[in-house]
Symmetry: C3
Subunit: 338 residues, 3 copies
């Protein structure tokens, strides 16, 4: 990519050489020839910039030997450039060890070693299925997806276009539902499915269970970190972000544009309204409806309230002493009067 093309891509103001070729991104203090870096603030400028191009904030005033591109949001611009420079291009290749059902319709460009693909499954073009991935029957996977090694996709799951599943992801395992008999747990049927819409990324070893009777759904553009648990019949909206090790119980609804921290626990049948932001390690009770805004703690409270209560909590020592002082004073007073 020429620097000129980069400036166009990020709609930035270019100062310096426009024709040089950029091939890699790097950290500003380590970047060298043919590399591009970014700084979020002018004061973050390293001493000896050796990058060929630097993305800087609009108010950046210094002169540099390298080309600079001024933009409103340098980090975003840098991410966009990297997105083009590192666009994953699956090699057109099928490992001869892969075991693909005869009636599967596999257009995928890349199929790795020891991949297993079940009957009637359809996989779109541009998609890469890495080594040791197991895909069941009647699955549909769209175009330009990347399924990293050792993922398991159960029967009848639907995955859209441009999705990324990192290693060890399990999609479509049975939900956790039983009915207690007098003497044992009887399994409630887990025969629904999972639908993952377009542009979803799922982190390593995350589990997304199939619906009991209906579906579990992950909305378009949603990003899920590692080791997350998504139970049966959960419905997650568009552009939701979920950090690592969070667990979402059955039938809970997360509306569009929510942001959920790490290690959060969400009870079943809860609802997070669009725009809710949940702090890490928070706990949300079953059935709870959480409005837009920032929430914290277990059970969740608005962040401001959480902070106020915690401040009081830290004052308990003082409360105790004040109560003691009041008692003593009162006793003195009493003596004085009597």
């Amino acid at each position: 990519m020429k620097i000129r093309e980069i400036a166009e891509l990020v709609q930035g103001e270019l100062v310096g050489d426009a024709e040089m070729e950029i091939v890699r991104v790097a950290l500003p203090e380590l970047a060298g020839e043919k590399e591009i870096a970014f700084i979020e603030r002018a004061e973050n400028l390293p001493e000896n910039v050796k990058a060929s191009c630097l993305i800087v904030p609009e108010n950046f005033a210094k002169e540099l030997h390298c080309s600079i591109i001024k933009v409103k949001n340098p980090k975003l611009a840098f991410a966009k450039v990297a997105g083009v420079l590192y666009r994953f291009q699956a090699p057109k290749k099928r490992n001869q060890t892969a075991f693909i059902a005869e009636d599967a319709e596999v257009e995928a460009d890349f199929i790795g070693a020891f991949v297993s693909i079940g009957s009637k499954t359809k996989i779109g073009k541009g998609t890469a299925i890495f080594d040791n991935v197991t895909i069941g029957s009647d699955v549909e996977i769209g175009e330009n997806c990347v399924i990293f090694p050792n993922c398991v996709i159960y029967d009848r799951v639907r995955i859209g276009n441009n999705c990324v599943l990192h290693a060890g992801v399990v999609v479509g395992a049975d939900g956790f539902g039983y009915v207690r008999d007098e003497k044992e747990y009887v399994k409630f049927p887990q025969i629904g499915t999972v639908v993952i819409e377009d542009d979803v990324e799922v982190g390593a070893n995350t589990c997304i269970d199939r619906g009991a009777l209906g579906e579990t759904r992950i909305g378009a553009g949603t990003k899920i970190d590692n080791l997350v648990q998504i139970a049966h019949n959960v419905r997650i909206g568009k552009r939701v972000v979920i950090a690592a090790q969070t667990g979402i119980s059955g039938s809970t609804v997360i509306e569009d544009d929510c942001v959920i921290g790490g290690q959060v626990g969400i009870g079943d049948h809860a609802t997070l309204k669009s725009g809710a932001v949940i702090g890490s390690q928070a706990g949300i009770l079953p059935g709870k409806i959480v409005r837009a805004g920032v929430w914290w703690g277990t059970p969740v409270q608005p962040l401001a309230e959480y902070k106020r209560l915690n401040a009081h909590f830290r004052n308990l020592e003082r409360f105790k002493e004040e109560i003691k002082a009041l008692k003593e004073k009162l006793n003195e007073l009493e003596k004085l009067i009597s």
Copy 2:
């Protein structure tokens, strides 16, 4: 299954056509011909029931066009019907890619692609081992089990009959035990084993470590959700339920019929007495003995106490103001007297 057979299975009172064939279960509002659904309460009846058969509570009084079966616990009855309609029947088939040690005794009906089975391992009839599963040496797996793709079963593990391991489960990895030397951590031997009794179901990506010297044991009929951690030498009783992302530390004992929520942390050498119910995200200290009843919070308290203390906690603001008011009043009084 004929409706008559279903009514017999669930010991319900049948009203309507007894001979129609039912082939699938479904949600009441979506069920159609040859499908059976259930409602837990009469008021949950959807407007236009099109199911061929509906399981309803005993006090259900309306008349419907379809057959109905009245039972005490409709959800349980429905689960039992689904259990018959969807009974997993492993196809009798061995994928030619599977790598099975010559001295393994494998009666399993189904062996998927890229399955590896070690020396002297025994697997019972009716069992299905799905693709990319790795089973070590000297393992014993009973009859009618289902081992989903990409599970790993280390050497010498014992698994009973009718067990289900979902994708990515790891059974028998080394426990986490070290002894600190002056200069490093020396590994304590992790050479015990894991015993999983009959009718156990284990969720995706859950880990059950082998005993250090003795065994880790999971009792019959116990159900474990996804991403659960069970450490070395833990002993879990019969019919225990453990929700997702819970962690149980070494040598802890969970007695029969306990129910443990999600993201619970249990310290080492603790004991949960039979009938203990632990709320999600609770924390149990090492060595703690938890009696039957409902427990909540970190460190766990009886639910009633947890609620009372939390109510006080939310009153801290008021405490503060009351202390302030008392102070002022006392000051006034003091002035008055002096």
Copy 3:
């Protein structure tokens, strides 16, 4: 190993037969012929010791039929003996199903079934790669490592000597980093790498993400339990211990000799100074610097403070009553005066 050799290894005082051969370790109450056991305190001695050798504390005064070895730390001595008796020796064998790139330099002694090894990857001698493991391109793995089944090692990861990765570990998946645009999340490049130094053990299904631009590093001698999440650009020092299900957010630094309990959550850009000990389920806020010492709770506090505050918390009931009593007394006094 002869008992004499064992006594030398652990620098203990041997009483009894020195020439007998020991082949296994066992629990003191179960150990029999040719087996060695240990007791940490004299009062833990079982009634009928049948072991051939028992490791005991220095002050142990009883006479036994078997040989005894007196040492300062019996558990440590026992662990060292087991380390020799059970030293893992990879069989020299390559399963013919393994798929190894032609330009990979694989000296590893053992390669299991359905292993995939990418282009230009180097693996040292004495190392064992178990079944269904997927190793990317340009990876380097040292000598005498054990990579258990179904692990995934992404491209360009570096692993030192004597490391153990348990089943399902994922090393080098993309970190979780996005920049929010007006209308979607744009992926921040995750093109760094992971460096795991010598003598590291990683538990089953744990995830260690690659650096965004730089590296994620795990120091020599560090031990990590199951289902742990280590985010991009985290730097973990030497001899750190991390228990199960803990999550460490991006760019956090854990210095040497820290001990971290289970289910701990650590925010991004935090620093744990050398010698910090973090209690299970604790929560550390982003950017927080945690000094040496024992810390507990969310947000973390020094253990002593945590205990004091929790004691107050449990006294809230009493505070309430005392405030009430003060009010009443004050009212009486007021009446008395007026």
